[in-house]
């Protein structure tokens, strides 16, 4: 009779099949013995010898025929277990509930290890824990916290034997006591990225794995990933709806911002660019013709980026547009900032603030009135000329409180002149901080160099050029803050600028 010798261990190369071939040889040895005996017995045994030789040949042929089956049957025990663990993983990943997962683990442990009891202990929605796989009295789980705490910190499977070895510390002792009460011999903590998702426990296996620690570690990891993926899937559900909501908010924010296409009107041309880093941004920019040849421009930057600052920009925009209508061509930048401050303070409740720079340019006289609410100082770019005058940058220094810091704030309007052909550059700090914190930021120096390099270009081309410089600097690296750039150029054309349509006189009187 052939006795299949299964080599235990499975970590070394070829142990499974070599085991089978050893067994085959052992089965063939009686045949060899028979040949030798027949040789000694003389001619009368010729038939027997022939039969013996034929039998050996038949055995070899049969061996070849059944080889694939034998290959599989004689996989090393360790390899078999590894395969069973992977098959379990494939099924566990499809489990629709925790009960399903426990049943899959139970079936695998029973079939492969001869385990009679498989428990899956997970946190219960109502607090405490629930045990899947057996009816366990509540008393059995008393004082389980110490065991779970220890298992969570230990992060390795623990058997009763191992627990007995490591002494009588409170953690191992509590774990050992809990396992004994639950009829378990092995506990596998299901630890996922530092969080204990549950504990799987098995009774003593009748066919223990050759390397228990390794096998139970793998089994625990497979159970962990199935359990974690199930939990995470449930947690991530609804993300699509939220993303769509934010996408819609982003579209709405875009809708309340000006069009980014270049604008050329009598007396001026401009272009703005707005690049939020998230779905929604905290920057805003705006321009409007106030009538009587006056142009309002504004750039603001709310605290942080995302939906909440974007909401604040919507509030600021509402206030700005209303002030523009109410004040008309008399709009004073300081007065505008005061009105916007009230709106931002109310909505932001000092948790969100906004910096802003407002300017009104008289296209006929070139007078530029400005007021600043904690925003970056803008630049005025002067072109070079044929007489040898070099292009020049000048910063407009104006200071004032950040919008929203206090309920009522007053600002100061200062003025200067913008000559024909000069450009006014407003930007948010996302431009100069581009690249931070991962790399050294783009910085004022590069911005100034870019502006000087593009001094002879039109406002739209300068805007495109600076943004291209920033993009080239970033080289697809992410940046941390929204970027906004607005460049306005005063042109020579002095054709009268028409007042905005349908301007309403607000007399403030009762209805």
């Amino acid at each position: 009779m052939v006795r299949w010798r299964i080599v235990q261990g499975g970590q070394g190369a070829g142990r499974g099949s070599s085991g089978w071939w050893l067994a085959s040889l052992a089965a063939g040895l009686p045949g060899v013995g028979l040949v030798v005996a027949a040789g000694n017995a003389g001619l009368g045994s010729a038939l027997g010898l022939t039969l013996a030789g034929g039998g050996v040949a038949a055995l070899a042929a049969a061996a070849l025929a059944i080889q694939p089956i034998i290959d599989r049957a004689t996989l090393a025990r360790g390899d078999q277990l590894a395969e069973a663990a992977r098959a379990y993983l494939a099924r566990a990943l499809l489990a629709r509930s925790l009960q399903d997962l426990q049943l899959e683990l139970e079936a695998m442990a029973q079939r492969t290890l001869g385990v009679s009891r498989t428990l899956l202990i997970v946190p219960a929605a109502e607090g405490g824990v629930r045990v899947l796989g057996a009816d366990v009295p509540a008393s059995a789980l008393e004082d389980a916290e110490a065991a779970f705490t220890w298992l969570g910190g230990h992060a390795e499977p623990a058997s009763l034997g191992y627990l007995a070895q490591i002494g009588s510390e409170p953690g191992p002792a509590a774990t050992s006591a809990l396992m004994t009460r639950l009829g378990a011999a092995v506990a596998m903590p299901l630890l996922h990225r530092g969080m204990l998702l549950g504990v799987a426990m098995l009774s003593a296996p009748s066919r223990p794995p050759p390397d228990e620690q390794t096998f139970f570690r793998i089994l625990g990891a497979h159970t962990t990933v199935a359990l974690a993926n199930s939990y995470l899937d449930a947690e991530a559900r609804g993300k699509g709806t939220l993303s769509k909501d934010l996408d819609l908010a982003s579209a709405m924010q875009e809708a309340i911002m000006p069009d980014e296409r270049p604008v050329r009107r009598p007396g001026f041309q401009l272009r703005g660019a707005f690049r939020p880093v998230a779905e929604c941004g905290g920057d805003m920019w705006s321009w409007a013709e106030l009538g009587n040849g006056k142009l309002l421009i504004f750039v603001g930057d709310a605290t942080g980026h995302g939906a909440a600052p974007a909401m604040l920009t919507a509030v600021a925009k509402g206030a700005l547009e209303t002030a523009r209508q109410v004040l008309g061509d008399d709009l004073d930048p300081a007065e505008l900032l005061s009105a916007m401050n009230r709106a931002v303070h109310r909505a932001g409740r000092t948790r969100y603030l906004m910096t802003g720079f407002a300017a009104v340019l008289d296209l006929t006289t070139g007078e530029l009135k400005v007021a600043n609410a904690g925003h970056n100082f803008p630049y005025v770019v002067q072109r070079g000329d044929s007489s040898g005058r070099r292009a020049k940058l000048e910063q407009i220094i104006a200071r004032g409180n950040t919008l929203g810091a206090v309920a009522e704030a007053s600002y100061t309007t200062s003025s200067r002149t913008i000559a024909i052909g000069e450009k006014l550059v407003l930007y948010s700090d996302g431009i100069i901080d581009a690249g931070a914190p991962q790399i050294e930021p783009f910085g004022e120096k590069r911005l100034r160099a870019a502006l000087l390099g593009l001094a002879d270009q039109s406002a739209p081309r300068t805007c495109e050029g600076v943004m291209a410089e920033v993009d080239g600097f970033l080289a697809n690296r992410p940046t941390a803050d929204d970027m906004t750039l607005l460049i306005v150029e005063r042109l020579a054309e002095t054709a009268p600028v028409t007042a905005p349509k349908a301007t309403t006189e607000f007399d403030g009187g009762a209805a």
């Binding site: 970590q11 070829g14 142990r15 099949s17 070599s18 071939w21 085959s24 040889l25 063939g28 045949g31 040949v35 010729a46 038939l47 010898l49 022939t50 030789g53 050996v56 070899a60 061996a63 080889q67 694939p68 290959d71 390899d79 590894a82 990943l93 996922h192 793998i218 990891a221 990933v225 974690a228 899937d233 991530a236 993300k239 939220l242 909501d245 908010a249 709405m252 924010q253 809708a255 309340i256 995302g306 939906a307 909401m311 919507a314 509030v315 509402g318 206030a319 209303t322 209508q325 109410v326 009105a339 009230r342 109310r346 909505a347 969100y352 349509k501 607000f506 009187g509 009762a510 209805a511």
Partner: protein, 440 residues
């Protein structure tokens, strides 16, 4: 005698030869198996500690190379834009972008999530995919594809270059590797998505808090001859319905509005509208038609599509009149002593945001002591019961008539109760808002 013995010895020699050859073959085979097993055994254990998808995929590629002797690996991932794929190899040098024909393969793999040996694509299973699969093999030098598909979503595809046909045992182990890498990659992806969802939830909550800050400071108030109460409940985390009340000199101004679309985007528009209303009220603009026309100009953008319905009412202290103008909003109701059914304050006008120069008309009527005006958004009459029947304008009018003699807070609670009783537990699908103003 010699012949049979020679036969026997010959047979034994043949058998021995077969045994030796088989031994050698199987030893090689099982040697490969053993190495495979070793490399695969703790893949999940190792990968669960990895922080990102690229690390898991790189680990999977390394495991594929170690376990199966693959000479190179390529990883295909869905790109940021739908329909585009990124391809990369573990190491510093990226591969060329995925070609047009290969993209069809990835779509097909979504529904064929098992190991594909590219040398076998002539089989009927591959159908029209034969040609692009062949191109893929040639372009990236891979001959085995492991599609990593979890919950009907392709996370990535791992390509290995074995340079030979895998043995049946290797094929099985490749499938095992595919399952393990899928589990680990799905874990990283889900972890990232769950974390992202938390971030989004927080973001929406914070945005909702900003929008909420623009709500009237008091839901119940009175000034002079007028008192008012409001109720608003958003169907989602943030809503597009809004109301504002302003105690201005000479009366009370109330605006009720509803952004078409709702959600965070709607909330953003309603924030701009409310802010505009605040600024107009602060500037002393109380004429409803003037206010609506101004707000419309403040929020209108050429070529941008968003619409807000709104109704503005000014309750005049001196005259006891209510003046109103309507921008496509449901008409407010008014109960007057002696009326069986509340009347409607009818009015017409374009929704805010519809066109730049929309004009509105202010209408007026007198209110006597005890008269109550109800303004609402369409979420109230459209509240559904379990039989999918809407609460309706008629029931709302009856509810208003029934509370004519109640105190204002109690009237609000009674109307709310009538709506809730109608819904009988059916969750709201739209924001619900109503405001009651009563002449003392």
């Amino acid at each position: 005698m010699i012949v049979p013995v020679l036969c026997g010895v010959g047979a034994l020699a043949v058998w021995g030869g077969v045994v030796a050859a088989r031994w050698a073959k199987v030893s090689r085979g099982t040697a490969r198996s053993g190495a495979n097993e070793q490399a695969l055994a703790d893949f999940v254990v190792r990968s669960l500690a990895l922080p990102g998808l690229s690390q898991v995929l790189a680990e999977a590629a390394a495991t594929g190379q170690a376990a199966f002797g693959a000479t190179s690996a390529a990883i295909f991932e869905p790109g940021a834009k739908e329909g585009l794929w990124d391809v990369w190899a573990p190491g510093p040098r990226p591969l060329d972008p995925v070609g047009e024909s290969s993209r069809a393969v990835f779509g097909w793999l979504r529904h064929n999530a098992e190991v594909i040996v590219l040398g076998e694509v002539a089989g009927p299973r591959f159908g029209a995919m034969r040609i692009p699969l062949g191109e893929l093999s040639q372009r990236y030098g891979v001959d085995v594809l492991l599609p990593l598909v979890d919950r009907q979503q392709v996370i990535a595809i791992l390509g290995l270059s074995l340079g030979r046909k895998p043995t049946p045992l290797e094929r099985r182990l490749l499938e095992d590797l595919r399952v393990e890498v899928t589990a680990a990659a799905a874990n990283v992806r889900l972890h990232r998505e769950a974390a992202h969802k938390l971030t989004l939830e927080k973001e929406v909550d914070l945005a909702g808090a900003v929008a909420q800050a623009l709500a009237p400071l008091r839901a119940e108030a009175s000034q002079g001859r007028w008192s008012w109460v409001g109720h608003v409940r958003s169907a989602g985390q943030v809503g597009g319905d809004f109301w504002c009340s302003y105690e201005v000199e000479g009366g009370v101004l109330v605006v009720v509005g509803d952004v078409i679309g709702g959600g965070l985007g709607g909330s953003m528009i309603s924030a701009a509208v409310k802010s505009s209303c605040d600024a107009f009220a602060a500037a002393g603009v109380v004429d409803p038609a003037t206010l609506l026309a101004g707000v419309n100009r403040a929020v209108w953008r050429p070529g941008k599509q968003f619409h807000v319905t709104a109704v503005a009412l000014y309750f005049d202290e001196a005259s006891g009149e209510v003046a109103w103008a309507n921008a496509g909003h449901p008409a407010p109701y008014v109960t007057a002593a002696g009326d069986e059914r509340p009347g409607a304050l009818l009015g017409w006008g374009a929704m805010l945001g519809e066109s730049e120069g929309s004009e509105y008309v202010t209408q007026r009527r007198s209110l006597a002591s005890g008269d109550t005006v109800l303004m609402h958004t369409d979420g109230v009459p459209e509240a559904m019961n379990p039989e999918r029947v809407a609460f309706g304008e008629r029931r709302l009018q009856r509810a208003l008539a029934a509370v004519r003699d109640q105190s204002l807070p109690r009237a609000r609670d009674q109307i709310l109760y009538a709506i809730e009783a109608w819904k009988n537990g059916v969750p709201a699908t739209d924001d619900e808002l109503f405001v009651l103003v009563r002449a003392k």
